[in-house]
Symmetry: C2
Subunit: 420 residues, 2 copies
């Protein structure tokens, strides 16, 4: 397709989504839940169609993608069933729309009510995993938002097939099929076109690697909620319970190293280093973690590479850890605020004053005392869902679920009040 053609096609999808959003914003909970259950039914009914579309994506991607990426792209009956179950879980969540945030009668008799309303049209730009198509569309639908979805070019056939299931489900429930648009052109210009549709799309949520986030932030005229890298830290204080510290430092690094709330760098107070480092280095070696460290760490671990300045700012998203010995709590906080990405950082200590100092001064979306950084997650936080983890301060910070997909509206009910 020509570049103009791509732009026009994305614009048409967004215009249809805008129209649909007006209807969806007024739909009651029952109608939205009915549509979600119909979507789950459609997904189960379309397993052969979905697998066939996905097989063509996988076939074409073979040779271009790593084995890990190919695995993320692949659908199977169990993964499709998991998507359907996920959609049913979203149906069971409370509806954020219409919730009253404040309600007061002003001295002049004007009654002023602040209520939650949908954002309108949400653009989501993501990579690889086709399940994001269904998860994101379900959360948008539940919160009364239309959405324009643009997944990775390698998964376009899978996403288009999933989009058909989503639209069929909406249609069966009497809601506009245009509420969910899947951008079906693999061209990169489609992303740029989407980011230019100010006035049609209300917010863009990018989900993926740092390169994608940068591209979206630099090109978008639409407000963006970024779900950026997680360069997370665990700091083991001089007064830490070292057994607890060991379990937290292992869990945060090893349990699922590829995700954004995994720990990348471990800071150890010099007063705890002699006891703690040998223990944790042994655990990391046993778990196959590549070690990088400062001079103090390398004097105990000749197998550790020297950590460079660049290391401290890096999200490895892999079984690699950077370890540094710090002289004080102050130095740990300074290091995290300088090199961290403001995602999730933890202190392990038995000293409540040190803990509270850390919790107050580390400027991150989530800070923990004696717990793993891995808890930063919409489900773990009891939000029932997650559309991303915001690393910015505006609108939403930390795990984003249904409430974060809403805005507010002020409603004034009067009896002829005018301003004096």
């Amino acid at each position: 397709m020509t570049s103009d053609g791509v732009g026009a096609s994305v614009r048409r999808s967004a215009e249809a989504a805008r129209e649909a959003a007006r209807v969806l914003a007024l739909a009651d909970r029952a109608a939205k839940d009915r549509a979600l259950l119909e979507v789950a039914r459609e997904l189960r009914a379309r397993v052969p169609e979905l697998l066939e579309a996905n097989a063509r994506d996988v076939e074409e991607a073979r040779g271009n993608l790593s084995a890990a990426m190919l695995d993320r792209l692949r659908l199977d009956p169990a993964r499709i069933e998991a998507m359907a179950v996920g959609v049913e879980q979203v149906a069971a969540l409370p509806d954020p729309v219409g919730r009253v945030l404040s309600d007061a009668v002003r001295p002049n008799g004007l009654r002023l009510t602040k209520v939650r309303v949908p954002l309108g049209v949400v653009g989501i730009v993501y990579e690889s995993r086709p399940n994001v198509t269904v998860d994101a569309a379900a959360l948008c639908l539940k919160s009364g938002n239309a959405c324009v979805l643009r997944g990775g070019s390698e998964s376009v056939r899978s996403n288009v097939a999933l989009g058909r299931a989503l639209r069929a489900g909406l249609d069966s429930a009497g809601l506009p099929a245009g509420s969910v648009a899947v951008v079906d052109t693999p061209d990169r210009e489609a992303v740029a076109a989407l980011l230019s549709l100010e006035g049609l799309i209300d917010v863009v949520i990018p989900r993926g690697g740092h390169g994608l986030i940068r591209f979206v932030v630099e090109h978008s005229r639409i407000p963006v909620i970024r779900h950026d890298v997680g360069n997370c830290h665990v700091y083991v204080d001089s007064r830490a319970d070292l057994r607890m510290a060991e379990e937290i430092a292992v869990n945060a690094k090893v349990q699922r190293p590829g995700v954004c709330n995994a720990m990348e760098h471990l800071l150890v107070h010099s007063g705890a280093a002699a006891d703690f480092l040998p223990r944790i280095l042994g655990r990391y070696r046993a778990a196959g973690v590549e070690l990088r460290g400062d001079a103090a760490v390398r004097s105990l671990a000749p197998d550790a590479r020297e950590a460079t300045e660049e290391d401290w700012s890096t999200e490895y998203a892999d079984l690699i850890v950077g370890i540094k010995v710090v002289p004080s709590l102050e130095a740990a906080i300074g290091h995290i605020n300088r090199y961290g990405s403001g995602h999730s950082d933890a202190i392990v200590t038995g000293d409540p004053a040190a803990a509270e100092e850390f919790l107050r001064r580390v400027d991150s979306a989530a800070v923990y005392w004696n717990a793993s950084t891995r808890f930063t997650d919409g489900f773990e936080y009891g939000l029932g869902a997650e559309i991303g983890i915001s690393t910015q301060k505006l609108h939403a910070r930390g795990p984003m679920a249904l409430e974060e997909l809403t805005s507010v509206k002020w409603i004034g009910r009067g009896s002829g009040q005018v301003r004096g």
Copy 2:
């Protein structure tokens, strides 16, 4: 100054603000209030210095600015006193920082608390009126934010002098003077330089005309909260109390026509037109309002100009009104959602069902039933302050006060929890 010099100078101010923000974020309410009272004292002590700086701005602007703009630029002792009183009022408001938004113990024993924290560094880009310098800095200080202020080039000497008073007040109270930076170069490049400082400035709030807002939205890499135009409507329904409708339509248009919550266009149901139009046209003529209208209006008012398609999208911000007769509530809602700017819109009706339909379906920050659009205001809403009125849906919508200058932080306190 060279373009590079301007950029470097703005960057240095922002870096100092970033440093100061770390201290300010941790300052308690007493320290911040002390600083605000010191600022009020400094303003009163510096009246001669402020008037002298302002006189030079006014002298230079004479001939380039309209009389109305010159008046907005001018300071006098009463206006300086009003600024000082405004700062004292901000000191009396509750501190939003540290407020607990949720606090729960998860099933695994992790206690999770969501608290308000400052945004960090707020950039404010505005025009003309020097009092914005003091109002904005006071609200940022109270909410624990540092700020970088860039006012209009015509008021640069006044703003720099006000900045000195602000910094002296901070310093007297033991808080970092770098918390308030006034960009002192009149060059336009200073705005572009400010908008490029992603990572140093957390949010930009533009306040001013549509041209300024567009420039900021198009050039900023920093998240923007826009305070855009107000193309506000009053719709007089077929079942309106026409005396009430008259008072509301006059108040919304005439009481202060230059502000963003003033009405620009009046929609009248065809069933009410024959009774209502002659009355309201008479009132508008008496108030010196220029009339523009559709054919139905012009048949009753030969002095009305024909309203063009462009009229319906225009914020006059002046004593001009566009009037249209509509066949139904549906048509009124459609017109407002198509041509309006999503700021403030009102229905006058005695029919609760029509009112609720309007309140639900008009997609604006503030919607009113039987009240003037002029109430959209932080003070009228009981927020105690106003840094702007957001016309976007992200982060804040409608009047913005102290809470809207904060973000959140999630604090997890555990006893060794790891993720399974």
